[in-house]
């Protein structure tokens, strides 16, 4: 049972979340769910893109704690990460908050990874915990690809890094959870296993991550004995159009039909028909914003009842790709539900 589903032994609630986005995200289909945004140029008043990303993190945490009426002393742990080297985006942004800090790197799966770890923390120790994840289009381009003004073309399978940060608050108090609607619970988690199936094209992350997503989803379904259709939604982080299509085929080959129930945050966050986003959104901020805004709102309202969030990440670095190595993927699964916990 070492690799099995982790079931929370006590109710662990996603009490609240706050999200901060850039101008593309604010203008997108889910823009109304953002708590804060920069409508102009994504710099949030800072001198560098990296500082802008940090500022997004700071804002998200600040909005979250203010709305909850809590201060740092009441939070047991903070699990956070981003795409930048040494996770300086979240690291520097969350400096003002004196909470025991765990820096994470899960690439674009960081939101799910942080949520998972925070849930386990609350499940074991009680009290409250936070998680956070962010990405910024400009800081990610600088690090992984090209300078902003470089005149290159993007391939059809490439994705658009989301400029966004979200912070999540978890705790065991049901009354606190029910403040904004139905109480939303982190019921189960299935940590991902890294899988490398030989993709060397850094412009096709979807293909690199799909095997890991399929592996996690199939393992979960197999062990839980549930059918995909028994969930209201199985939502992956950022497989994009390319990866989502491959995922459905891989799962079909593995005996699970995802058609109708599968969504992808990368495809939800932008209107691909109206804007040139190629295969869709990506980055830690992608699943973070969609979960913190749209998904949480639907769960609280009752339009979604029982979902699987599968954060997906591609664990590459530009240097390693230049060295000819292939790209491993990982997918962390969290079951988020408004169904009551059974004894």
């Amino acid at each position: 049972m070492a690799h099995g589903i982790l079931t929370m032994r006590r109710p662990v609630y996603l009490l609240d979340a706050a999200s901060v986005g850039g101008h593309e995200e604010a203008a997108g289909p889910l823009g109304a769910y953002l708590d804060r945004h920069d409508a102009k140029n994504d710099d949030f008043g800072q001198d560098t893109w990296e500082a802008a990303e940090s500022e997004m993190n700071r804002l998200a945490a600040e909005v979250l704690l203010t709305r909850a009426g809590l201060d740092a002393a009441e939070i047991g742990a903070l699990f956070a990460g981003d795409l930048l080297n040494q996770c300086t985006g979240s690291g520097y942004g969350l400096l003002p908050f004196d909470v025991p800090y765990f820096g994470l790197y899960g690439a674009c799966s960081t939101a799910a990874e942080g949520l998972l770890l925070a849930a386990l923390f609350v499940d074991h120790f009680g009290g409250r915990a936070m998680s956070a994840a962010s990405s910024h289009f400009c800081s990610a381009e600088r690090q992984f690809r090209f300078p902003m003004e470089y005149g290159g073309q993007r391939t059809p399978t490439s994705q658009w890094t989301v400029t966004g940060a979200a912070a999540f608050l978890l705790g065991g108090d049901r009354a606190e959870a029910a403040r904004h609607g139905r109480a939303v619970r982190i019921a189960e988690a299935l940590p991902g296993i890294t899988i490398d199936q030989g993709i060397t094209d850094a412009n096709n992350m979807g293909a690199a991550m799909a095997p890991a997503a399929a592996d996690t989803i199939l393992r979960y379904l197999r062990e839980s004995g549930r059918e995909p259709q028994s969930f209201d939604m199985i939502v992956t982080g950022d497989l994009g159009a390319e990866g989502a299509s491959i995922l459905c085929e891989l799962c079909r080959a593995g005996g699970a039909e995802l058609a109708g129930v599968h969504r992808d945050c990368g495809l939800l966050i932008y209107d691909r028909a109206a804007t040139d986003k190629h295969a869709g959104g990506s980055g830690c901020g992608c699943s973070a914003l969609v979960l913190a805004g749209y998904l949480l709102a639907q769960l609280r309202a009752g339009t979604l009842g029982d979902i699987l969030l599968v954060g997906t990440g591609a664990l590459l670095s530009p240097m390693v790709v230049q060295q000819g190595r292939s790209i491993p993927g990982i997918a962390h699964l969290v079951r988020i539900t408004t169904k009551e916990a059974t004894a």
Partner: protein, 147 residues
């Protein structure tokens, strides 16, 4: 589970391909237009009194400065998104690579940022162009000796 080669092949065949005809047409038209415009500028500079070699250099200078300007104001990358190789292959590509890197690296300072990173993208062209020149030069010189 599939072996690494078959999944890679599957992903490759599955991947959405760039619209070749559209991309090639755009590259051809924009690239051709840039070269024709350069030819026009050459004629203009020669008409204004420049010798042939000087005119050639002046045309390069014009294209480079214009590219750097368009890069700085944030317009060049939009043209390049449309034109692809049409702006990449002419000297405009070289100038854009240098300007884009320079502007981007400003946040790390003038020495370690702009100074060090300016040729990150354009560097290989200079390195291997020079290297090829040295190799060919060596061959020419040796050939000259043997004559």
């Amino acid at each position: 589970m599939q072996t690494d080669t078959t999944y890679k092949d599957y992903a490759k065949s599955h991947a959405k391909k760039s619209p070749l005809a559209r991309d090639c047409a755009r590259a051809f038209l924009v690239g051709g237009a840039i070269c024709a415009a350069a030819e026009g500028l050459t004629t203009l500079y020669e008409y204004l009194g420049a010798a042939q070699e000087t005119a050639g250099l002046l045309v390069s200078l014009t294209l480079i400065v214009l590219t750097a300007l368009l890069t700085g104001i944030g317009v060049f990358d939009r043209i390049a998104r449309f034109a692809g190789a049409g702006t990449l292959v002419p000297i405009t590509g070289f100038a854009n690579a240098v300007a884009a890197c320079a502007v981007d690296a400003k946040s790390e300072g003038w020495i370690l940022g702009v100074g060090a990173k300016m040729f990150t993208i354009a560097g290989p062209v200079i390195v291997y162009g020079t290297a090829a020149g040295v190799v060919c030069g060596l061959a020419e010189w040796l050939a000259g000796l043997l004559r």
